[in-house]
């Protein structure tokens, strides 16, 4: 027993409690992996739901100006509610589940996405749309072939903002025990475990940067005509 106690103290033992500790990452690899995967799943699901809802809402707002104020007003109001309050407010309907977090985050993403979609579509010059109509494009084909490609830089800028902030917000999901890396941060605070706390925080930021770069890369692939020109933002 004495030999075990005298074992080389690792950098994440209670005594040293260092912030950066590679030994911790190695020993708890499974835990870190599953937290990161959960974080990624929640984030991606939320952004996906956000996009799927935002797209028809943006088209509706553009088509029916009277609805625009209502749609933008409601989504902005939702955006005002702090995440730590929004998740509990959803609990009576969806319970203590990952769904609660995904829906809450999707509502935040929705606000950003609807605005950027409207802005992007509105930025398409009227002459271009008239030309498309003159060439015999119907509304649907014009949207898909002319307006969306031209609006893409603004749409993608909105998607980047929504994705990066969703990654950060997912941590708050820990209030219903589905916070991905946020659960590790929470545990780190509770048990005064610095290596866990720091590793999870760093992974969060890394995840945000990686997803952001992935979107930039996708945009580069999707807009061959824009290459070589200065990027929009």
């Amino acid at each position: 027993m004495a030999a075990a106690a005298a074992e080389e103290p690792s950098c994440y033992s209670r005594l040293t409690n260092e912030w950066f500790c590679w030994q911790y990452v190695v020993d708890r690899q499974d835990q870190l992996e599953s937290a990161t995967v959960e974080h990624l799943q929640i984030t991606l699901a939320a952004v996906l739901v956000g996009v799927l809802l935002a797209f028809p809402l943006a088209l509706l707002a553009r088509g029916v100006p009277r609805l625009e104020t209502a749609i933008l007003g409601t989504s902005t109001m939702l955006y005002t509610i702090p995440s730590l309050a929004l998740f509990p407010l959803l609990v009576p309907f969806t319970g203590l589940s990952a769904t609660t977090v995904v829906i809450g985050l999707a509502l935040y993403a929705l606000t950003i996405l609807v605005r950027s979609m409207l802005e992007g579509l509105r930025g398409v010059p009227a002459e271009v749309r008239e030309s498309a109509a003159g060439l015999g494009y119907g509304p649907a084909r014009r949207l898909l072939r002319v307006e969306l490609p031209l609006a893409l830089p603004v749409l993608m800028a909105g998607l980047r903002v929504a994705t990066v902030s969703t990654v950060a917000l997912t941590t708050v999901g820990t209030i219903v025990s589905y916070g991905g890396l946020g659960d590790l941060i929470s545990d780190g605070v509770l048990t005064n475990f610095r290596a866990e706390l720091m590793t999870a925080s760093v992974l969060c930021v890394v995840l945000a940067v990686v997803l952001d770069l992935a979107i930039v890369g996708t945009q580069w692939l999707l807009t061959p005509w824009a290459r070589g020109r200065a990027t929009a933002r």
Partner: protein, 259 residues
């Protein structure tokens, strides 16, 4: 739906509002935190952002500070500050447990919307207005004080308003690290599986957020020195974007970072 009656019971029991640790005390604590942090962020961020905007600089700062603010989770930063040796969980005046850590985190997260909006606002004052000021023989300071500031005021105020919403949200999250404020009602309820209490806390936090945002919107309108129509409306008017000579527009109104 049993839990909803629990929520109602919690909200309608006077004892939950009054006394030590009651919701009224926590509400006052969180409001105090929010406005202290907002004031600090305005003092620190606004002069720098405005002056850089006057010089036509700061675009890189504005973009980067927004990006960093968005990518770093408020919860993670709060957690790091609380677990560190300094500021840790020490009490700070009327701000309660972990008060100093909370104020620091709140101020940091209030800076991006304030700096970005103020900087963009001044930089995007129309060149025509600037040339006119030059032509009238205004000095740099006069141009800043009498032309750029009034023309950019609406957007500067919008930044402060976004910061207020942001700070209120972050102050709520402070409860996740056992910090001060109303968020504690939420975390207490959830950690002790008293969901009625937790959701009741969420209702109060959300309601105050909406009241603050509404009040801020009214204040913003009242303080704007250049009379104009509702900014949301003028932006949505077709074809007017980017063509108006006097109203600078910002790309993302919802530029608040993590909540």
């Amino acid at each position: 739906m049993n839990v909803l009656t629990d929520v109602w019971d919690y909200l309608t029991t006077a004892a939950n509002w009054t006394g030590e640790g009651g919701m009224l005390q926590l509400l006052v604590e969180q409001l105090l935190l929010t406005f202290t942090a907002l004031g600090l962020a305005i003092l620190v961020g606004l002069p720098i952002a405005l002056w850089l905007g006057h010089l036509g600089r700061g675009s890189l700062l504005a973009i980067n500070i927004s990006n960093v603010g968005r990518a770093v989770p408020t919860f993670a930063l709060l957690a790091l500050l609380v677990v560190a040796d300094w500021p840790g969980t020490r009490d700070f005046g009327p701000y309660g447990r972990a008060g100093l850590a909370t104020i620091i985190a709140l101020t940091l997260f209030a800076l991006p919307p304030i700096i970005t909006n103020a900087n963009v606002a001044v930089r995007e004052v129309s060149p025509a207005a600037r040339s006119a000021a030059d032509g009238m023989g205004m000095t740099g300071w006069q141009k800043f004080r009498r032309v750029e500031l009034p023309l950019s005021a609406a957007l500067v105020l919008l930044g402060v308003r976004l910061a207020l919403v942001q700070v209120w949200a972050t102050a709520t999250i402070a409860a996740l690290v056992a910090g001060p404020g109303l968020g504690r009602v939420i975390t207490d309820g959830f950690y002790r599986t008293n969901y009625g209490k937790g959701i009741a806390g969420a209702v109060v936090v959300a309601a105050v957020a909406l009241v603050l945002e509404g009040g801020a919107a009214l204040t913003q309108r009242a303080l704007d020195p250049v009379p104009r129509q509702d900014p949301d409306r003028s932006r949505s008017a077709k074809g007017s974007r980017g063509m108006s000579a006097d109203t600078p527009t910002v790309v993302e109104e919802t530029d608040a970072v993590g909540r």
